[in-house]
């Protein structure tokens, strides 16, 4: 912002410029247009406007909406769930591998969420053989550790592109309104990396309870110690006191949340945080590959869950369980799925937080 000279100030000395010829004027204006267009074009390039094939967070979430329908205010995946409140009691055993305060302090508060990995918040609990557990640990120093774990040991694919194609294979065909049943088998036929997952899923049954499942980080991370040394790890939450393990799920709708409320009314639920240390040759950046049995496992402590809250009014509702929100002492690996989860969750989070006012009243979480 420059002021025009006041009338009584002497005008700055300025040599008279000869007027521009029409050709020169057009050339100069054209030059300005070229410079501005170059900057705007570079911006559009970075923004992906010239590359419609680029996998964007929007495309990832759009395909989930296409397959599952839009349920305003709900998560675009793992839409059906329940909040849990508790704390984590560190055993101190992970302290030598990581400086994260959560492994040092005796108790760290936790807000978690059990869920079904489906995009429909009204899906029957028996419709998927997988359950998930997301946790947010809030350390005393204000840093947080967020993790989203699943009851499967490996992910079907190793890249976000393949995950996207797998979702596309399940999209409704515009002609019939239903997914083409030949597409998913065709996808797996051309994706041999899915064999470990497919082998596991053959024997997987929908569990009758959230409390009896083991929840795995699936992706790998690094623990970082005080000297900066990094150890590749995967972690899992394993239930202690498995009284009803292996029970088959009842048919139908909404037994998981009822079971959890019932169990927590009787006593807190405990899970052990097992951290598996990779050997140098283990695949760190590929969530579709298992690590061989016999790796060293550190018992980092016990997760104690004390009560549930409905997901539409509970504390977990407004938490984005982005697996790359990590405290000092834990780092993400270069697994490409981690960055894609972080980017995709952010897009889903913006969509659903924009729709909070459209959520059904918290107390009547009935089907519409």
């Amino acid at each position: 912002m420059v002021d025009r000279s006041s009338p009584n100030a002497a005008p700055p000395e300025r040599p008279q410029r000869p007027p521009l010829s029409a050709a020169s004027l057009i050339l100069r204006l054209g030059g300005i247009a070229v410079v501005v267009a170059a900057v705007a074009g570079a911006f559009a390039y970075v923004h992906g406007n010239f590359d419609p094939q680029r996998l964007t967070p929007k495309a990832l979430v759009d395909v989930l909406e296409k397959n599952n329908g839009v349920h305003p205010g709900f998560r675009r995946n793992h839409a059906k769930g329940v909040c849990v409140i508790g704390h984590f009691e560190s055993s101190g055993e992970a302290r030598v591998f990581s400086t994260a305060q959560v492994f040092n302090d005796p108790s760290t508060p936790v807000v978690g969420r059990f869920a079904l990995p489906a995009g429909n918040p009204y899906a029957p609990d028996s419709s998927v053989p997988i359950r998930s557990l997301a946790l947010r640990f809030t350390q005393a120093n204000g840093q947080q550790w967020r993790t989203g774990m699943n009851s499967m040991p490996v992910f079907p694919v190793g890249t976000p592109e393949a995950f996207y194609q797998l979702q596309q294979a399940q999209s409704p065909d515009p002609a019939t309104g239903k997914p083409d049943p030949s597409k998913v088998p065709a996808f797996f036929a051309s994706h041999p990396e899915a064999v470990p997952f497919l082998t596991w899923v053959k024997t997987a049954k929908p569990s009758a309870s959230y409390a009896t499942e083991t929840y795995n980080s699936v992706n790998a991370f690094y623990l970082v110690d005080a000297s900066g040394k990094k150890q590749a790890v995967r972690w899992s939450m394993t239930p202690l006191a498995q009284d009803a393990a292996g029970a088959t799920a009842p048919e139908g709708g909404d037994f998981l949340e009822k079971d959890l409320v019932q169990k927590l009314a009787a006593a807190p639920l405990r899970f052990q945080l097992n951290i598996t240390l990779a050997n140098p040759e283990d695949p760190v950046n590929d969530a579709s590959k298992t690590w061989p049995a016999g790796r060293k496992v550190v018992n980092a402590g016990t997760l104690v869950l004390e009560k549930t809250q409905p997901q539409l009014s509970g504390e977990c509702r407004d938490i984005n369980y982005d697996p790359l929100v990590l405290p000092a002492g834990i780092q993400g690996s270069a697994d490409p799925l981690l960055a894609a989860r972080s980017a995709g969750y952010a897009d889903s989070y913006l969509r659903r937080t924009s729709e909070v006012s459209q959520l059904p009243a918290a107390k009547q979480e009935a089907r519409p």
């Binding site: 420059v2 000279s5 204006l29 967070p57 929100v325 937080t353």
Partner: protein, 181 residues
């Protein structure tokens, strides 16, 4: 009567060009970040946050410099609508340079995430965690960033218009400290 300065003071020119680089970089980082799911998304976010806070600090310094130093006047023969456009667009640039980092800081606060500038450097939250507030702030941050980019383009076009077409002293006053002749 004091004579009017013909150029911006050295500190003002340094701040202008340093921030020009940082803001252009920031706009490109933001555009790449929100349209990528690759590892690039992650490292761009880790650049975006500290760079945004650095811009916030610098714009405060810059406003102080702006308010305590004298600026060269606009050319006396500049048409009124161009004077108005120059003043309005500069006001908008200053406002957006100040507001965008604050919106970014506030939106992370509203999401309930700790505001981390590095693995250990944490800023306090400036608004309470609130989902609806987050959605509003996040959208405002995005839309105003596009507006800033358009304003920067206009600023660039106007500066070149002064330098190449009008051939007055405006562009020169930000490029160097003394007249050429």
């Amino acid at each position: 009567m004091r004579t009017q300065p013909t150029h911006f003071v050295l500190l003002a020119r340094l701040l202008h060009w340093l921030m020009a680089l940082m803001i252009i970089a920031m706009l490109f980082i933001g555009a790449g970040m929100v349209t990528s799911v690759s590892e690039r998304h992650e490292w761009l976010i880790h650049l975006h946050k500290p760079l945004g806070i650095a811009i916030l600090v610098l714009v405060v310094v810059r406003l102080l410099v702006r308010l305590t130093t004298r600026q060269p006047p606009l050319p006396a023969d500049l048409p009124d609508f161009q004077v108005l456009a120059a003043k309005a667009s500069h006001l908008l640039l200053y406002a957006l340079m100040l507001v965008l980092p604050l919106l970014g800081w506030a939106m992370i606060s509203a999401s309930g995430e700790p505001v981390m500038l590095s693995t250990t450097l944490q800023l306090p939250s400036i608004v309470p965690a609130d989902a609806q507030l987050f959605a509003w702030l996040r959208k405002a941050h995005g839309y105003l960033a596009y507006l800033l980019f358009l304003t920067v383009l206009l600023h660039l076009a106007a500066a070149l218009f002064h330098g190449w077409v009008r051939r007055d002293e405006v562009l020169d006053s930000m490029l160097r400290g003394r007249d050429r002749h």
